[in-house]
Symmetry: C2
Subunit: 317 residues, 2 copies
């Protein structure tokens, strides 16, 4: 059975770790959000792609949920000397976006290959091969795509990483915008059209899955095969397992519950998988036009992630 997973970062990475225990990795394609991508110090940074690659390789730092285990921070520490002298108005060499010393090699390779003219799709496959991974990891697009967040207090728009990392997503947002004229790659189109099952991973529906859905043709392609699309709610008990999804939903006038998630996904997915903590909301999910499957979806162990993946595949049949 071939499976395509629409993926953000940490939650999707954990789900994929479980999925590749249940089906051969060669049958799995992760279509990954690149709306969070940025350029720092001249380096091409793809946070979600790297989180998935490092997690699947068993190399992710389990406590942070991003970056490599056993990492050191010598380059970042040395940056302090320079942030102290930069002129007013400059944001050069920001120290708020932590890049580990070993992690830098990934950005070096990606940046250098892109400069040679390679597509992000090609480079991502090379990086996955370097880590010995068997699944396909594909960026949602080879084109520039930037998620922009409007901050409620100032009304200013900032790039996603400014909100997410610099401000630690600790401020209210009043808007969300995708700045791009990107198209999905052929790999993405095929992965969505041809897989036996498509799973929408338990990622932030607005800033992780939203960018993928904003690419022309993606929502239509999902709707066209809706009966074999299964979404996993990233909201459990009214809260996001990780990150600001719950607050963002509320701040943007949506419902930070599995019902709110169902409202977002009903046009493209037939099934919503929710945690037993939300079992009392099954009828409300169904009322939004989705089938509802209750399954533990807090992936505290690989075994739990595998059970969740198996439940998703079963639900799609």
């Amino acid at each position: 059975m071939t499976v395509t997973v629409l993926a953000g970062g940490v939650g999707a990475a954990r789900f994929l770790s479980g999925l590749v225990r249940a089906v051969p990795p060669a049958d799995v394609t992760a279509v990954v959000n690149t709306g969070d991508d940025t350029v720092l110090h001249g380096l091409a940074i793809s946070p979600d792609l790297d989180t998935i690659t490092y997690t699947l390789a068993g190399a992710i730092d389990p406590e942070r949920g991003w970056g490599l285990q056993g990492e050191t921070w010598r380059a970042m520490e040395a940056l302090d000397r320079y942030t102290a002298v930069r002129p007013d108005g400059s944001s050069a060499a920001p120290a708020w976006f932590n890049l580990g010393d070993r992690d830098l090699a990934t950005h070096f390779y990606r940046t250098a290959r892109l400069a040679e003219g390679a597509t992000l799709t090609a480079v991502t496959a090379e990086i996955a091969r370097a880590w010995g991974l068997g699944l396909s990891i594909v960026p949602m697009t080879d084109d520039r795509f930037r998620t922009i967040v409007r901050l409620a207090e100032s009304g200013h728009e900032v790039p996603f990483q400014d909100y997410f990392v610099r401000l630690r997503h600790d401020v209210a947002v009043s808007g969300l915008r995708f700045d791009h004229s990107a198209t999905p790659t052929d790999e993405v189109r095929r992965a969505i059209a041809d897989a036996d099952v498509v799973v929408v991973a338990p990622s932030n529906p607005l800033v992780s899955i939203g960018p993928i859905r904003d690419l022309p043709g993606v929502d239509d392609a999902l709707a066209a095969r809706r009966s074999s699309v299964v979404a996993v709610s990233p909201i459990v008990g009214g809260a996001a397992l990780k990150g600001p999804a719950d607050r963002m939903l509320t701040e943007l006038g949506m419902d930070a519950s599995v019902v709110g998630v169902a409202r977002l996904y009903a046009p493209i997915a037939d099934v919503l998988v929710i945690d037993p903590a939300d079992a009392h909301l099954v009828d409300a999910v169904v009322a939004e036009g989705m089938r509802c499957v209750v399954e533990p979806s807090v992936m505290t162990t690989p075994e739990r992630a595998e059970s969740l993946a198996v439940a998703c595949l079963a639900a799609a049949r």
Copy 2:
């Protein structure tokens, strides 16, 4: 007394260390070769600028002569994983150019500031300030300038760092070319025109001083004030103290001796300072049209570098 020093890397850095013991650092300007500059992994690398900055800051690794003391190499070590998977024809993420983890912060800052539109001159001054330096360090130009070396065996042209680092300058060269349409900055023009003394540091006359002299107007400006220009021979006893200057001179049909150096510098400098090891060549230097001062010029200690600097200043009077 204000002093401008035309500078390459290691030899010039040692000379400058001695000079700032003899005159107030605020009266010293180093005009630094950028023909060796390159872009690696997307990062703007300026080897000579950094060697001078780190040396003057007392932070240089004394054994290597480049990079920082107490450096670690975690990022470079992690790059091996990727060089193993890059496709044929790609030179992405080269591991032959070693970038230390702490050194990376300098490249991050420079790259980010240049991307903001700052000039290399401005960024270099900020970096010098970050290291607490009192002298002025100015790149010879803010424009792109690339030193290109033709390899004798293959006849191929390669960028300077390919020759110098990747091939460890261990192959014969058959040609040298400067690829640029650069102009010297106003800071460089003023430093050369206005200083009480100009010293040509004991750097490679072909690939360190040669690029500075190749900028339009520089040789004429030096010739116009020739009587107060003093050059220090980087060749001692027929050999370069460091690097391939001796072999390059021979391979390109010049004389790898203080006489060969005098022939190159006679149009722009009144005095050549040579080491006692070459005292028997004083007459031959004079025959090339330069005054000749004999002074120990192997800078094994800061005191020796200071004595050499003092001798240069005295010779110019």
